[in-house]
Amino acid sequence: MAHHFVTSADIPADGERLVNSKVETAKRAAGGLAVLLGLLSFYLLFMAPAKISAPFAYSWLFAFFFFFTLAVGGCFWTLLHNVSNSGWGTSVRRVMENLGSVFPWMTLFALPLACPNVQQWLYEWMNVHREAMKNGGDIFDGFLAGFYGTESMKKALEADHQALLVNKQWYMNQVAWYARFAFYFIGLGLVIRALRKFSVAQDSDPNPSTKNLFKARFHSTYTLVIFAITITFAGIDLLQGMKFDWFSTMWGVYLFAGSALNSMAVIIITCTLLIHGGYMKKVVGPEHFHIMGKLLFAFTVFWGYITFSQFFLIWYANVAEETSWYLIRNTGGWNIASIALVIGHFAIPFVILLQAWLKKNPKLLSVMAGYTLVMHVLDHYIIVIPERSVSLYAMAMSKVPGAESFAGVTTAVPGAFWGDILAFAAIGSGFLFFYLRALTQTAVYPHRDPRILESANVSN
C-alpha cells in the first residue's frame, strides 16, 4: 500500500494534453475512412436497388444503435459522476465527457433513419400510415398539430382494418415520431456539450473555484431525466418500432443496461491506452481500475438480470403478441446465438470479473472490456438483424416496389452480412474519429478540478 501520495506538485499546472503522432494518424485515418464508407453507405441506402438498400437499412440501424449506446452511455457516466458528487472519478471524468461528446455527432449517422426512403424498409407502421395518407389521413391536425394523432388518420386506418395502429396512434404517429427523434439528439446533445464546456473552462480558469463544478452538478440532475427519456424512447422508436405489434415493458432498461456496461468498457480501454502512452499516470492507478472494473461487473450482472427478466416474463406468460419477438430469435440459427449470449455476455464475464486482482490490472481488465464489447455487438445484432427478413415479407404485402423479389422466400438474406460489416465500419470509424478528436482537444484529465487530488489518492 505504501504508494506515493500525490500532491499538487505532481500535477502539471497546464495539464497533460494528448499530443501523439500515432493518435493523429489514427484520427485522420478514421476520419478518411468514415467519409469514404459513409459515401458508399449513402449510395447503398438511397441510390442502390431495393434488393440492396432494404437489407442495408437494417445493417445501418444495427450499427447506428450499437454506437449510439456507447455515446449515450458516456453521457450517462458523466451525469452520474456529477450528480452523485463523487470524488473517485475526477481523474477519469474527462474521458467520460469525451465519450459523451461524441453523442451530438451521432445525429449525422441517425439522419438516414429519418428519411422515408430508409424508413420504408424498417418501420412497417410508417408505411401503413403513409398509405393511409393517400386515403384521406392527415398528419397535421387538431390538438398540438397532430402530436397525439388525428381524427382523419384514425378513420383512414380504421378503413384499412389497422385496429392496433388506431389504438397506438397517440404514440405512433409521424409528427410525434419526428418530434421525439429531434428531441433525443438536441436535448441530450446540448447538455453534454454544456457539461464538457464547464469542465474544460475550469482548466484555464484564472481563479479556479467550485463554481463550474457546482454548475455541472446542478445541470446534471434534471438531465438524468432527459437521459432516461432518450435511451428509453429512442430504443422504443428505433428498435421496438420495427415490430409495431410487439411490446416489452423492460425494453428501455434493457438497452440502458447494455449501454452503461459497454460505455464503461470503452472508458476502461481508453484509460489503459492513455496510461500505456504515458498520460495520466500520476492520477489514475489500480484503484481507479478496480472501481471501474466493479462497475463493469455490476452492469454485467444488471444486464443479465434485466435481459433474463424480459425473456422470462414473456416466455412464461406465453402471450402470442409478446412471444413473437423471441419466436424468431429462439429458433434455428438465431437460437444458438441467443444461447451464446447468455453464456458469453453474462456467465463468463460474471465468473471472471469476480476476481479483485484482475480488476486492478489495467491490461487484463481491458481485455475483458474488449470482450464485453464484442458480446455487445452480438447482443445488438440479435436485436436488429432477425427482423430483416420477417418484416420485409409484410412490406412485400404493402406493395413497396422491389421488395417482392426476395422477401417471403428465405429467413436469411444472402450476402446481407457484408452490409452489416460495412455499416459497422462506416459508423465505427466515424465514432472513432469524433472520439479521438474530442480526446485531443482538451487536457486528458481536469487538472484544476478541486477534487483531483482526492481522486488521485483514492483507495477502496
Binding site: 500500500m1 505504501a2 433474463f308 425473456f311 422470462f312 416466455w315 412464461y316 406465453n318 469476480l354 479483485a356 483507495s459
Partner: protein, 184 residues
C-alpha cells in the same frame, strides 16, 4: 496468602489520533509482528494496508457456498419437476430446456447460501461468538469505542519480548502502555 498467576495477554498502547495510529501501525508491521491488532472508534481508510493484512480467504468460502446454492437450487427443481414427477406447466416441456423456470430458485439459493457462508464464515474466522476477551481486563480499553486509538500486541507473537516490545511501543509514540493480564 495465595498468589494467583495470571497469563499475560500482551501490551496495549494508546495513540492520540487516527493518523498517529496509522503511522504506528506501519512501524509495528515493519518490525515483523504478526499477532497484533488496531482498535479505533471508527474505520480508518487504508489501515488494513498499514497493518500489512493479507486479503481474507472469506470470498473463496462464499464462492463455494454460492456455487453449492446454485447446484442445490437446480437439483431441487430439476429432479422433482423433471425426473421424479414431470410437471407440465403452461405447455412448457419437462426437460432440461425448462431451465429458465428454475432460474429464480437457483438465483435465490445462490444468494441465500452465499449470505449464510458470509455470515458464518466471518463469525468462524473472527472466532465469534465468545463470552469474553482478555483485552476487556484493561481499564482504559472501553475508550476504544469512544475517543481513543489502541494497538495491542499479543504475547504469543514470536517477536514479543517484555522489554523490547514495550520500548517499541514507546518509540512509536504509544502512551499509557499497559501489560494486560487475562482475568481469572
Amino acid at each position: 496468602m495465595s498468589t494467583t498467576r495470571k497469563r499475560v495477554y500482551g501490551y496495549l498502547a494508546e495513540f492520540s489520533s487516527a493518523s498517529a495510529l496509522f503511522k504506528a501501525a506501519e512501524k509495528v508491521r515493519d518490525a515483523g509482528f504478526s499477532k497484533w491488532d488496531c482498535h479505533s472508534p471508527y474505520p480508518v481508510h487504508g489501515l488494513d494496508g498499514a497493518m500489512g493484512m493479507k486479503r481474507s480467504i472469506l470470498p473463496w468460502f462464499v464462492f463455494c457456498g454460492g456455487t453449492l446454492g446454485l447446484i442445490t437450487g437446480f437439483s431441487l427443481a430439476y429432479f422433482t419437476q423433471v425426473e421424479i414427477y414431470p410437471t407440465v406447466v403452461q405447455s412448457k416441456p419437462a426437460n432440461f430446456f425448462t431451465i429458465p423456470a428454475f432460474f429464480p430458485i437457483m438465483f435465490e439459493l445462490t444468494i441465500l447460501f452465499s449470505g449464510f457462508t458470509t455470515l458464518f464464515g466471518l463469525l468462524g474466522l473472527m472466532k465469534l461468538p465468545r463470552l469474553n476477551h482478555p483485552l476487556f481486563a484493561s481499564r482504559q480499553f472501553h475508550r476504544a469505542t469512544d475517543d481513543a486509538f489502541f494497538i495491542a500486541i499479543e504475547a504469543r507473537d514470536p517477536k514479543f519480548s517484555p522489554e523490547g516490545t514495550r520500548r517499541l511501543l514507546e518509540d512509536i509514540g504509544g502512551k499509557s502502555i499497559e501489560l494486560v493480564e487475562e482475568e481469572d
